[in-house]
Amino acid sequence: MISVIFNGKETVLDGEIALDEFLSARGFDPAEVIVELNGAVMEGEGHGGLLLKDGDLLNVFRIVAGG
């Protein structure tokens, strides 16, 4: 079991899972979100096999139409 802080809330996961899998399980379209992991904005949409680890700080921001 690991614990990450996702959008400000402590979130317990079964184990280290791929960031991409975490996002898709929560219904995020990778083309429409800015992902910030441990203080850094991730480039691009796919994150390879990058795994979420215990204590990670993850913020996901939706970029929605309108301007």
Binding site: A31, I34, E36, V64, G67
Partner: protein, 201 residues
């Protein structure tokens, strides 16, 4: 001299020397530009390929006698009426990942004020790759819920204003209207000025 007579000399110098880019001259961009100019920013680089249409007047910084005019031309005219001594570089062009770096090359910070989600994302990512500070907007539509609009920082260089969810995509109340769009536009401008002056965003 600028139109903001409240500024201290150091503040005036910082704002006069800043070059601010604005991607999009619609609901967010046109209003943001007005706020920046009234605050004392003198140099803007603005890009928008669209023309003023009747549906724009409910929120955009244009007027009924400007219908049909290119937004970059109409906006230039309106901004110069506030401060006749601005340095405005206006690009009547659709921004892409290819032309945006050159268009905003001289800018210290770029405001994302585009409409389609894919365009917003393209502009954010392109400008971050160029090492620019970016102030972007997401979630501006509808009425009320003013308190849900906020400003967050993502990483070192990106700021996001809006509520992060109210998309302007049609349907019940999912349209952009002046007050709420105005709040987000003002927030973007206020953030840019705070960055230029080096004060808390």
């Amino acid at each position: 001299m600028g139109v903001n007579l409240f500024l201290s000399t150091p503040e005036r110098e910082k704002l006069e020397h800043a070059v601010v880019g604005i991607a999009g001259a619609g609901g967010l961009g046109s209003n943001c530009a007005a706020h920046l100019v009234r605050s004392g920013v003198r140099k803007l680089v603005v890009a928008d390929f669209d023309a003023v249409s009747a549906g724009n007047l409910n929120r955009q910084f244009f007027f009924a006698d400007q219908l049909g005019r290119k937004k970059v031309d109409a906006l230039r005219e309106n901004l110069l009426r506030i401060d006749p001594e601005l340095e405005l570089v206006m690009h009547d062009v659709e921004l892409t990942a290819v032309n945006a770096p050159e268009i905003f090359r001289t800018c210290d910070v770029v405001i994302e004020a585009l409409d389609r989600a894919s365009a917003k994302m393209m502009l954010i990512r392109t400008m971050l790759r160029e090492g620019k500070k970016v102030v972007a907007a997401s979630g501006i539509a509808g009425w009320g819920r003013s308190g849900r609009i906020g400003l967050v920082q993502a990483g070192e260089h990106l700021y996001l204003a809006g509520d992060g969810e109210s998309a302007a995509e049609g349907g019940d109340g999912a349209y952009p209207v002046s007050p709420r769009v105005g709040i987000v536009a003002a927030m973007e401008a206020n953030t840019v000025i705070a960055l230029i002056l080096g004060v808390e965003v």
